[in-house]
Amino acid sequence: MLSPADFLADLLNPDLAFLPKALAVAMMSSLICGVIGSYVVLRGMAFIGDAVAHAVFPGLAVAFVLQGSLVLGGAVAGVLTAVLVAAFSQNRRLKEDSVIGVFFVAAFALGIVVISSAPGYAGSLQQFLFGSITGIPDEDVLVVAAAGLVLLTVVFLLHKEFVLVTLDRETARAAGLPVFALDGALYVMVAVAIVISIQTIGNILVLALLITPAAAARLLTDRLPVMMTLAPLIGSASALVGLYLSWSLDLPVGGMIVLVATAVFLAAWLFGPRHGLVARRVGARRRPAVAAQA
């Protein structure tokens, strides 16, 4: 196995220029996913995240067939599906999850049909689904950085509004907030976060970047600001460690990043300070003793 020093040397090796690019994209996108994912986890929108991840696929496929920008294609398809889901979910008769179930599978199906018309599609399909660290164009690094900056700015500006809408929609409406527009904005942000992450981690695994670090952070704290700081830290650290393991052991990068993040989640579940399994066990054993003293 490669030592961290060798990994650093490889990162600086001009012959391996794709490696630092992949690392930059993976870390930036997991940082962004950690922040956006905090809202997703708190609103119980994990399924929507999954839906959007699938929904960007036809956009990627069309962009691939037309040889256009994958990020742009994916973003258009993801946003379109997100808006459709938000609009159809306003109908009280159908629950949101059913609407999502309809649209995301349809989008994925469309993507498969589109991409099958491209020559040699099996290889590119594999790359879309499972990600890859080679072949990230230079401009994509800039696109990811710019998109990330825009998303984080929107989060900074609209945080108070997103929180109130999550807490209780009726009071948010009564306060004059455009609840539907804010939902739409959040879905669009989820779509963009997913699209910029798909290159390295792949379409199937991208949901983990959105959910796992934020879920782990939720287990570690009851404070929202702390959670929204911890989640991107956990995400980007997982990206760094995952890419290192993947490179030095020659294992798929998307899979390794997700497994590292999942290990952090399990550790938080077991050893979290207040809600962790161990803390609860110990607390349960201590409490009767305290009661007896009293």
Binding site: K160, L167, D168, T171, R173, A174, A175
Partner: protein, 267 residues
Amino acid sequence: MTARAGAASAEGTAGIRVVGVSVDLGGRRVLTDVSLDVRPGEFAGLLGPNGAGKTTLLRTILGLLAPGAGTVRIDGARPADVRASVGYVPQRHAFAWDFPITVEEAVLTGRTARIGWMRRPRAADYRAAGEALARVGMTELRRRPVGELSGGQRQRVLVARALALDPTTLLLDEPFTGLDMPTQELLTELFAQLAAEGRAVLMTTHDIAAAVHECSRLCLLNGRVIADGAAARLPVDAWMRAFDVRAGNPLLRVVAAAPEVPHALTR
């Protein structure tokens, strides 16, 4: 805290004024020709069976539903224009209690209509939240995550959140559901005080006994206004029609025990 009803009351328009309101929901008529006035200083109870349109009327007064006919005015203005002076306490289950937020932060979200878009709370907002928390006796728990609160404490947080606006008008949706007696007494006393300070307070409730004893005014609703006035003045047959019950129903014994002067006015 002082209610800012002064200017409006000089013109006689302060408080809630609902005139001839009809509301359709999903093609079904829910409210027909409802008129209701709640003046500053009144603690009014809105009573009726399930499906009577209590919550619909509350939402219409909040400006969340557009009436098919009629008008709603709060302090003489349309609801959308006076959002920063209307406090709303939703039903307790409407709030995401598992959200990682402290009591104080939750109360601060009540200031949203006044803080405005893309701005952060300022010193004045924290001060208002602090005063609202003191009002409901939750100052000591202000750093507590909301998920760790009891049902009664949660209800008090929602009331504090509405009070953080220092509203002229207070709308309460079923504030007593699932609360024990001491908490209920504490809250009714608080609501009566808030009304006595010059606010218009309107509460929907299924707790007829509490409403009959505490509210300065009752409005019996069942799609339309069946009766409206002080509890002791409402005829028995109005209760029977509003709740669709026959003579001898225990409800009528509760109603018959209505005090001549409601407790809210004797404190």
